[in-house]
């Protein structure tokens, strides 16, 4: 397994380089102008100078290599400097956003907490809801519980978050006035009351996303349980005289979890990618919102860096999913 992991990590390097190049070319070829959002009162020659100051005048291969150097060398050195306190990065140019003129990675790090709080929590909540629903739905296939579960999953899956989100805001913020409609990213939990406020402001965005995540995962869980429930080893377990609970939770669940855990692991990068629409609706201003604003503003360094970080996470969690699969399923051996 160790050799396999190392080999996969080595393979990931050329893959990621290729991804970064494709990203860069796509972004460069896509129409768009970082000064397009500026008011028309700013004359074209000034815009031209702004573009030049952003480095847009350089040929594409120079800009790509520059980005590679900034991202891999300068950012790594900076990170080491930050962690160790040694000044080895000097004043090397980091990847700078065109909108904010500040290092992209710093903004990403600043955004991570709210994204993980909201999107991450909703993923955890979604899983926590989905697994029992999936298990019971499969065990009591076609019961009313299963039918209701199927309906809720269908709703969660097919009704877009921009609808459920706004609906919740209208009900709970506008009419009832119970919950805030705008997420306060500066809120700090210091005592019981501020903790309660944090819960209240998390409630709606987490629910909206959890519903969506739970819908997906509970379907996977149900299908996987159904696949296993009819296998002979379940009959074997029953014939051993095990209690039904033990048959389901020990034998069926452990085997059914193998594909589900993989699906869950593969979904983790999307947590970091943020939930663009939900973040916009509740003004969570996490990584998803950062990406969409950067795209609107043609902030190529920001879009490139964010997309590339997502690419790294996707490659990484693919590997993690495979490794988990190997650990959970003794039939899989990689070496």
């Amino acid at each position: 397994m160790f050799h396999y992991t190392v080999r996969r990590l080595l393979y990931a390097i050329p893959t990621l380089l290729l991804i970064s190049l494709i990203l860069f070319l796509l972004l460069d070829l896509a129409p768009g102008d970082p000064t397009a959002q500026l008011p028309l009162t700013i004359p074209p020659d000034v815009k031209e100078r702004i573009r030049a100051s952003l480095g847009l005048g350089e040929p594409i291969h120079i800009r790509y290599l520059l980005w590679l150097q900034q991202f891999f060398v300068n950012e790594s050195l900076h990170l080491i400097s930050e962690l160790t306190g040694w000044d080895i990065s000097g004043d090397r140019q980091r990847v700078i956003s065109w909108q904010t003129r500040s290092p992209v990675v710093d903004i990403v790090i600043q955004r991570l907490p709210q994204t993980l709080w909201v999107v991450g929590l909703s993923y955890v909540v979604g899983i926590a809801i989905a697994l029992p629903i999936g298990i019971i739905s499969a065990y009591r296939q076609y019961s009313w519980f299963d039918q209701v579960g199927t309906f809720v999953s269908m709703v969660g899956f097919s009704v877009p978050t921009f609808f459920t989100g706004v609906l919740l805001i209208v009900i709970f913020s506008v009419h009832l006035g119970w919950l805030p409609s705008i997420y306060d990213t500066t809120h700090v939990v210091t005592d019981w009351n501020s903790f309660l406020f944090q819960i209240r402001q998390l409630l709606m965005p987490v629910f909206v996303l959890a519903l969506f995540n739970a819908a997906q995962i509970s379907r996977f869980m149900r299908a996987s349980m159904l696949d296993n429930l009819n296998l002979d080893y379940v009959r074997t377990a029953r014939s051993k005289g095990l209690a039904e609970r033990a048959v389901i939770l020990v034998h069926v669940l452990r085997n059914s979890m193998i594909p589900v855990v993989t699906v869950i692991a593969l979904g983790v990068p999307s947590v970091f990618g943020g939930a663009i629409i939900t973040e916009q609706i509740f003004k969570v201003n996490g990584l998803g919102q950062l990406l969409i604003i950067a795209i609107e503003a043609s902030d190529i360094p920001m879009v490139q860096t964010l997309s590339f970080i997502f690419a790294i996470l996707i490659v990484l969690f693919n590997l993690i999913a495979d490794v988990i699969y190997g650990i959970l399923d003794p039939r899989i051996r990689y070496d």
């Binding site: 296998l231 080893y233 074997t236 029953r238 005289g241």
Partner: protein
């Protein structure tokens, strides 16, 4: 059927067993019909014997086997094992009876939990039913593995690391763990290579002698059943059409279906094999959801008469320990003897 008890010390008494599965349709999943997988079956199994249960696939023999161990939901009828009616028993009593009755499955791969080691698979029932120490459990696992011819050093391996024959040995060891009296062998060799089949069958016979086991041996392989069974029951479309001691059945089949089945068994002797004539049955097995009225076999029976299409024949005793469900049986009417030749017994 009152004297169906053949030996008086029957280990298992099955009476009028029915297993019907509902057929549902539509959004509301209304029941629109039922599949009569097992339809009114009665037989006994005496202690220490091997009852062969044969029939084509889909005839309900596997369901019957599972029902006897309460691994399928029973619609009606009674199953008494050592005097206890397991149909009426609650889940708890059934669990307490589990050690007495075990099953060996057709697919050794699917019947073993892929995420458990051999030691766990064999040891789990011990943990569940015998409050023994870990040490004693390990000893017992080793003992069981050796008795089925497995290397005890492989106890910590997973099922996928074994060959098909070895896996079936694991399944057998597992079934033996709690010293059962009855083992339902559901086509235990069908998924194995021919070269391995004999080994497994021999192992089963050897274990039967050693542990005084009673087998219900379910198979579609008449040759193998002839080898291992003491008595043979032939199933067709959810019912038993003939039940007889092995030698009688093979020498003188009373039911046209049995005759047809036997005519398909190849002869080991090339001389007689050349003379063997097959009875080719016309048509397909009817759906168990829509069984014909009258005799279930009437749609394919080469000898069917009007009566067969009207009335279902009783399962009647026609000789010492011989039962058959056929209007023509007992009338001593010569069957299509021109086509059939007595099969030499053993």
């Amino acid at each position: 059927m009152s004297e169906a008890g053949l030996t008086g010390d029957a280990l298992v008494e099955v009476r009028n067993l029915k297993v019907h599965f509902p057929i549902t349709a539509g959004i509301l999943r209304r029941t629109v019909g039922e599949v009569r997988a097992v339809d009114d079956v009665s037989f006994d199994i005496s202690s220490g014997e091997t009852l062969g249960l044969v029939g084509e696939s889909g005839c309900g023999k596997t369901t019957a086997g599972r029902a006897i161990l309460r691994l399928a939901e029973i619609t009606s009828g009674s199953i008494r094992i050592m005097g206890t009616d397991i149909v009426k028993a609650d889940a708890r009593s059934v669990r307490e009876l589990r050690p007495l009755m075990q099953m060996i499955f057709q697919d050794p791969q699917a019947s073993l939990n892929p995420r458990m080691t051999v030691a766990d698979i064999i040891g789990e029932p011990l943990r569940e039913h015998e409050a023994s120490t870990l040490r004693r459990r390990q000893d017992r696992v080793d003992e069981l593995m050796e008795s089925v011819g497995l290397n005890r050093d492989h106890a910590s391996r997973y099922p996928h690391e074994f060959s098909g024959g070895q896996r079936q040995r694991i399944g057998i060891a597992r079934a033996l763990a709690l010293n059962p009296r009855l083992i339902v062998c559901d086509e235990p060799i069908a998924a194995l290579d021919v070269s391995i089949q004999a080994q497994v069958v021999n192992l089963l016979e050897e274990l039967q002698d050693r542990f005084e086991l009673t087998y219900l041996f379910i198979s579609h392989d008449l040759g193998m059943v002839r080898h291992i069974a003491d008595r043979v029951a032939v199933m067709y479309l959810g019912t038993i059409v003939e039940l007889a001691p092995r030698s009688d059945l093979y020498a003188d089949p009373k039911h046209p279906y049995t005759e047809a089945l036997l005519s398909a068994v190849p002869e080991p002797n090339p001389a007689t094999e050349r003379e063997r004539q097959r009875i080719i049955l016309e048509g397909d097995v009817p759906s168990p959801a829509n069984a014909p009225s009258g005799c279930v076999f009437c749609t394919r029976c080469p000898k069917a008469i009007d009566l067969c299409r009207r009335e279902r024949p009783e399962f009647t005793k026609i000789g010492p320990s011989r039962f058959v469900a056929c209007h023509l049986a007992g009338t001593d009417q010569p069957g299509p003897q021109a086509n059939l030749r007595p099969v030499p017994s053993n």
